[in-house]
Symmetry: C2
Subunit: 116 residues, 2 copies
Amino acid sequence: MYSKELLKGTLKPIILQLLSDQGRMYGYELVQKVKERSEGKILIKEGSLYPILHSLRAEGILDTEAQQVGGRTRKYYLISQKGKAQAEAAVAELRDFMETLQQVIHPKPDPHHASS
Amino acid sequence: MYSKELLKGTLKPIILQLLSDQGRMYGYELVQKVKERSEGKILIKEGSLYPILHSLRAEGILDTEAQQVGGRTRKYYLISQKGKAQAEAAVAELRDFMETLQQVIHPKPDPHHASS
DNA sequence: TCATATACATAGATTTGTGATGTATCACAA
DNA sequence: TTGTGATACATCACAAATCTATGTATATGA
């Protein structure tokens, strides 16, 4: 697993991207999906996930739909109308950040200064 | 600028990568180099940088060479012999993490299950 | 003389994720 | 029927990393 700090700041956009992508998901499902797509390398902890979902909901970025499945309750989350722009912005920022990071740690040689 | 939290966990490997790349650098120079390569998008703060450099030095991963330049002191940092493997591991982890993140937020469709 | 750039450093506050813990249902096996 | 592991939610104390603010000091150019 990754030194946990690498995840910092990325969890929120990851969640928003998955919800944009999949329509609506519940917490446990999000954890599984991220685990699956990352081949077990990114394991979101419940202690991280639920506070994020709750705060995104409090901000009005997410809506919820509770659903009974057997004796258990599932709480589906989906991007709200109002949250769409913010969700896209967060994901875009993450993508941009990743590109910038690439550029910093693996720079293409600058042709202008490549005199030697 | 990025929501500051995105940087978390990436600063140490960024610094180690630059030092591997450039041989030896001093603090102020590192800040400028990252700023330059990121086109002003990543601005490492002194309050972040110096504690990291000090702790990497305390761990024995970095060596220092003080140098007088005019009336000012420069403290050059370089990867120590002992720190080489750890530095490479940290950078490799960051690269791997970035790839995994790509896969999570921008998955290639899985041909096995692409029945519809 | 004053602002800006260079150059280092530290302390307190903030943010975010984890670990630990708790509740509860369901399926399957011993 | 008892226990275990998966499903499914939730909260809180703690740890880790970075930032803000602040401080010192020299060099440079307006």
